[in-house]
């Protein structure tokens, strides 16, 4: 989301003259901070469970709303690795480390784990798995070549910073549980900026931004209210 949010803010600022600060971090990390009183107006997560936790504990104004669905890709920056839809390639000896995000805290990590288990590869590659504490760090491991290959978000491999690095393939969306990404408006926004925060929050779900989500490798959330 880190690249997408910049685009969203730029688009929004074309019409509204307002300063918006995007604080980037792992969803789990940010959730903890919000629960300890961190001064954020809106929380945009990579999953649904973290905003859900905040909502259950009374930190939000409404229940979480899904803004987009993420897509999992397999990415490598090593020249000697040939990608194919057949994940059996992960068993080969010249792949010594496979990066995934922490499955307990990052939905892309648990999706990667799910798909590995589905194809009976998880136990066989477990000793090669290297866990990034966030999808960002996982991508950094892959991008720097520290990890031979890894699972990351489509939005990362499409970003300006990463798009010329290495090669990637999209994984079949039916092979893993949907990565539904949700956002919430936090109670903290009522202190100073409620109206402005609400306006930007609504913007995240507007028809205008669906193209931006698509451009960055997400599937926009359906327009229907129920989800």
């Amino acid at each position: 989301m880190q690249y997408t949010i910049k685009a969203l803010i730029t688009e929004y600022q074309k019409v509204h003259a307002i300063k918006i600060d995007a604080v980037l971090g792992a969803s789990g990390n940010l959730t903890q901070q919000i629960m300890q009183g961190a001064p954020y107006d809106i929380f945009i997560s990579a999953d649904t469970s973290f905003p859900q936790k905040l909502s259950e504990r009374g930190f939000t104004i409404e229940v979480p709303k899904i803004y987009a669905q993420g897509e999992l890709v397999l990415w490598t920056t090593r020249y000697d690795i040939n990608l194919s839809q057949n994940l059996q390639l992960l068993l080969s000896n010249n792949i010594k480390s496979i990066a995934i995000a922490n499955p307990s805290t990052a939905p892309y990590g648990s999706a990667a784990q799910f798909i590995l288990k589905k194809y009976n590869l998880y136990e066989k590659v477990a000793s090669k798995l290297v866990t990034g504490e966030s999808i960002t760090q996982t991508s950094q491991f892959i991008a720097t070549g520290a990890a031979d290959i890894g699972f990351t978000a489509k939005s990362i491999v499409l970003s300006d910073a990463m798009k010329r690095k290495g090669k990637w393939i999209e994984l079949n969306m039916h092979d893993y549980p949907p990565i539904r990404q949700a956002a919430v408006l936090l109670k903290y926004s009522q202190k100073n900026n409620y109206n402005e925060a609400k306006a930007f929050y609504d913007f995240l779900f507007s028809a205008k931004v669906k193209e931006i989500y698509k451009m960055f490798g997400y599937t926009p959330a359906p327009s229907k209210k129920e989800e």
Binding site: N102, L129, F141, G145, A146
Partner: protein, 223 residues
Amino acid sequence: MIDLSPIWLTLKLSFFTTIILFILSIPLASWLSRRKNIFKTIIEVIVTMPVVLPPTVIGFYMLVAFSPGNAFGAWLEHVFNLRLVFSFGGLLVASVIYSLPFMVHPIQSGLSSLSPGLKEASYSLGKTKWQTLTKVLLPNIKSSLLTAVVLTFAHTVGEFGVVLMIGGNIPGKTRTASITLYDEVEVFNYHSANVYALILIALSFVILFTLYFINRKMQVRYL
């Protein structure tokens, strides 16, 4: 009961880091404590830098340097079949760099504060530099040596930023206690996080208490 293997891993990392640093730092500290020139001063600054630099800087540069996708990392893999990213070996190298000043400084200070007469007397009695160092000088700075060892050990126990950058969170190899604690907090396992935290606090307390206790006993004896 919670999984104690991260604690053992932390202790193992701290133990080996301390031993390696002890062996490396004695000659280095000894050299730095003798007459100064500009070159020595530069080395002194380099040795001190890990104290000042954020651990993530060290971690970041190590990640880039040791990555098998880059020249040096690829060479290591090619020649030694060694990967220093995502391995205990890599953490050890990182810890040695990160805790270097904690071992060197107390020893260097200790040696500098000894009266030069001690060294000169030893030389004039025909002892070599090495014999002087090991049989005369070091025994006289036991308190500094103890401080150095204990600080290095304790500092490595607390290491987080570097491990986070280059560890990869592998259970049994790079998932240290500080990382585990952080992970437990992130998944709302506050009870586990608390247990790890208390164990780390207790460990640090015992280590530091031992240091001060032994130090006091030594001072009493030499009066």
